[in-house]
């Protein structure tokens, strides 16, 4: 844990407004990115962002340094608040659901072949395919590939176990492949 983190945690525990401001400057953009991945509307994302930090400032006493880093703890609160907001709003989200299990039938070789081409077209196809994924799967693959979080950290954020996260990642890759094939056809 860095000195900045220690200073911020101590200041938040004392409910210092100055340190709260510093925490917002330090972690604000990161939390915003976490929230806006799941809650696409800007107005809704602003509301959820505020709820996240109000919860962080109010529940700082519950933070345990031994379980996770402060950043990961923030990610967990942001993820849970976003998912709760989506459930509460009951917004209709259209995404690909592999009810027939065709994605699972794909082999690893097929997936590598579909996703492995190093061209811009493949990247655009993957971007389009990601938008068809459910919000929680989008968040997981973003945390893994973009934020470069470990399986243990992702499991802590999503309140699951690392093996569940690993199997979900594998299924999501295959799903991306399936969506790309659908888009190409």
């Amino acid at each position: 844990m860095t000195e900045t983190e220690i200073h911020i945690i101590e200041g938040l525990r004392q409910q210092s407004p100055k340190v709260q401001q510093e925490a917002l400057e330090q972690y604000g953009n990161y939390v915003w990115a976490q929230v806006v991945r799941l809650v696409t509307s800007v107005e809704d994302a602003e509301e959820v962002y505020q709820d996240v930090f109000v919860k962080v400032f109010g529940n700082i006493k519950m933070y345990d340094e031994e379980r996770s880093s402060f950043r990961t703890w923030l990610s967990r609160i942001a993820y849970n608040e976003s998912i709760t907001f989506l459930r509460r709003k009951r917004q209709a989200i259209i995404y690909f659901e592999d009810n027939e299990g065709q994605a699972d039938a794909l082999s690893e070789a097929e997936v590598e072949e579909t996703l492995g081409h190093g061209n811009e077209e493949t990247v655009q196809l993957i971007r389009a395919a990601i938008r068809h994924l459910p919000p929680d799967e989008q968040a997981i693959i973003t945390m893994f590939y973009y934020d470069e979080m470990s399986l243990k950290e992702i499991a802590y954020v999503t309140e699951t176990i690392p093996t569940t996260v690993a199997s979900k990642l594998s299924r999501t890759r295959k799903k991306l492949c399936k969506i790309i094939k659908m888009l190409q056809s």
């Binding site: 401001q21 917002l24 962002y49 930090f53 400032f57 493949t122 990247v123 990601i130 693959i141």
Partner: protein, 227 residues
């Protein structure tokens, strides 16, 4: 690196996400400040309200435990004593008004006078002499009876009068006479009138019942004929 395309795609997606508004943190700090102030107020009221609740409970308990107020001017015992005094006074007044000796003497005198008048009228008739003697005897006996009964009543009154000390009357049960009439409608009808009205009401009800029976009989007969 494995899945590099996925990383690149995600990187591009993240770049295209809407940016955080510039005033968002300022608004957040204002909201946090408001919540802190409201929490402080709630804490203050939370500290105060148990005391208020305890005071209310104590007041309710005091209301139940405190004895009812006693009116020194009028009480059950003094009211009974007052009534008894009044009744004793009434008796004394009655006794003063009705002096038994004079009463008996007056009655006897009146009867003697009547007898004398009758005797004077029928003095010439010998048949009536015996009758007069009889009537005289009767009058005397009745006078004696009157004297006896009056003396008895006088003795009874005397005893009651003697037994009722002027300062400390014996307790007795209150009757309707002691309770004054306060409702104006009770002045309207006497007891006899009320009894008469009840009797008339009962008679009217009986007549109505008889009439209903007659009607039902008539209806039965009609339906029997129609069939």
């Amino acid at each position: 690196m494995k899945d590099q395309n996925i990383r690149n795609a995600l990187h591009q997606e993240e770049q295209n996400r809407p940016p955080m508004p510039a005033d968002l943190n300022a608004r957040l700090m204002q909201r946090v400040e408001k919540e802190v102030n409201s929490k402080a107020e709630r804490k203050h009221t939370r500290i105060v309200w148990p005391w208020i609740a305890a005071a209310c409970v104590a007041g309710v308990i005091m209301m139940f435990l405190m004895p009812p107020k006693i009116d020194n001017t009028v009480s059950d015992e003094t009211s009974i004593a007052k009534v008894e005094k009044d009744s004793v006074k009434q008796q004394i007044e009655i006794l003063q008004i009705e002096e038994p000796q004079t009463l008996i003497a007056n009655v006897a005198k009146e009867r003697m006078n009547e007898l004398k008048i009758a005797k004077a009228k029928t003095a010439k008739e010998s048949d009536t002499s015996n009758l007069i003697a009889m009537t005289e005897k009767d009058i005397e006996t009745t006078a004696e009876e009157v004297i006896a009964t009056d003396s008895n009543t006088h003795r009874a009154k005397e005893t009651t009068y003697d037994n009722c000390p002027s300062a400390e009357p014996q307790p007795r049960m209150l009757t309707e006479r002691d309770i004054p009439i306060t409702r104006p409608e009770n002045y309207k009808y006497t007891k006899e009138e009320i009894a008469l009205m009840k009797k008339q009401a009962n008679e009217a009800y009986l007549k109505w019942v008889e009439l209903e029976i007659e009607i039902s009989k008539y209806n039965l007969e009609n339906t029997a004929e129609n069939r």
